[in-house]
């Protein structure tokens, strides 16, 4: 499964592609929402690892506008519930992720992104 938490951690790793290689852009996606255990402590601890703009832009592109453009200073329960839903309950099952820099395409099938590169493409 490619949940948005994972997508926020994946960058293009093709040979020579070392800048502007994140976030990968989704296209032709099929999304499934699946309930996950709400763990506010995990979310609070994970927030510093998130690239916020990439997450919000990606969520909006997939039709979820529940997150604010700027990371809020006050972290309340409503915010954490929205964040939980976006990060951990939104699954991209099918689709393509494209590198914004080199345009390499990584297909997603049955919730598994194929990020294997051919030998000549490895950096």
């Amino acid at each position: 499964m490619v949940r948005l938490i994972t997508h926020n951690l994946l960058a293009c790793h093709a040979k020579g592609c070392t800048s502007n290689n994140f976030p990968l852009a989704f296209s032709n996606v099929q999304i499934e929402i699946r309930e996950a255990e709400f763990n506010p402590e995990f979310l609070k601890n994970f927030i510093p690892k998130i690239e916020w703009k990439a997450l919000v832009d990606t969520a909006r592109q997939l039709g979820d506008t529940s997150l604010p453009l700027e990371q809020p200073e006050m972290i309340d329960d409503d915010f954490l519930k929205n964040l939980h839903h976006v990060l951990l309950e939104t699954h991209v099952e099918e689709g393509v992720m494209t590198c914004p820099n080199c345009k390499h395409e990584y297909p997603i099938s049955n919730g598994i992104p194929n990020m294997l590169l051919a030998e000549h493409e490895i950096g």
């Binding site: 949940r3 960058a11 790793h13 994970f46 951990l88 919730g111 992104p113």
Partner: protein
């Protein structure tokens, strides 16, 4: 006692392409169980398993650490990726599977930020051609064929872990006596200042297996 993950959904046809959990897998589970209390106390945010195969090991650590940790898994074998995913679902542990070599797509974003790294590598000494051919085929042979000293894939992994491991992080690695464990430990200490201990050792048939735990 932490139960061994439920693998009843995997069949003999899965095991034609994916390594079936065996003594080496169970030794790794036992090492993680022995460290269960300290692992819980450490409260790792991220756990990465390279070459997750059946998904047994990540599902097991998922039962120890619960929803406070994100579980990332990679495998070069597409059958293994699917099995990992199914095993996660079967055991109610959300495993994030990426079909890739080592952890390359995570290096840019998770530099020095992974708390637990697990690797049960292809450690069996084989002909070099057998090892490189097996890695290209991306099937079951790639789960054990390790080249000359059984270290060809592990050596590559050991060059990458320092870049990913967090300050408080730990690496659990399965190794065979023939892999020259003291040399591995000295090398990692000299090159990366990574200290290590042997958590468990066990003889299983002809194999003398150990679990090495590296930390900063």
């Amino acid at each position: 006692m932490i139960p061994t993950p439920d693998l009843s959904h995997l069949t003999s046809s899965d095991y034609e392409h994916v390594y079936e959990p065996a003594e080496d897998t169970f030794l790794l589970l036992d090492a993680l169980e022995e460290h269960a209390d300290e692992l819980k106390q450490m409260a790792p945010l991220t756990c990465l398993e390279v070459g997750s195969g059946s998904g047994c090991v990540s599902s097991f650590i998922g039962q120890i650490l619960g929803s406070s940790t994100l579980y990332l898994c990679t495998d070069i074998n597409t059958h293994a990726c699917r099995c990992t995913r199914r095993t996660g679902t079967q055991n109610k542990v959300p495993l994030e599977v990426v079909h890739t070599s080592f952890a390359y797509p995570f290096h840019a974003r998770l530099k020095h930020s992974i708390d637990i790294i697990l690797f049960n590598p292809p450690y069996v000494p084989t002909q070099m051609e057998e090892m490189s051919g097996a890695q290209k085929l991306r099937d079951i042979e790639g789960s054990w064929a390790g080249g000359n000293d059984g270290m060809q894939v592990t050596n590559k992994f050991l060059e990458l872990v320092d870049d990913l491991l967090s300050a408080r992080g730990r690496v659990y690695l399965v190794a065979l006596k023939e892999n020259n464990i003291p040399e591995i430990q000295t090398r990692m200490a000299n090159r990366y200042k990574l200290q290590s201990t042997i958590v468990l050792s066990r003889r299983a048939g002809r194999e003398h297996l150990s679990i090495i735990c590296f930390h900063r």
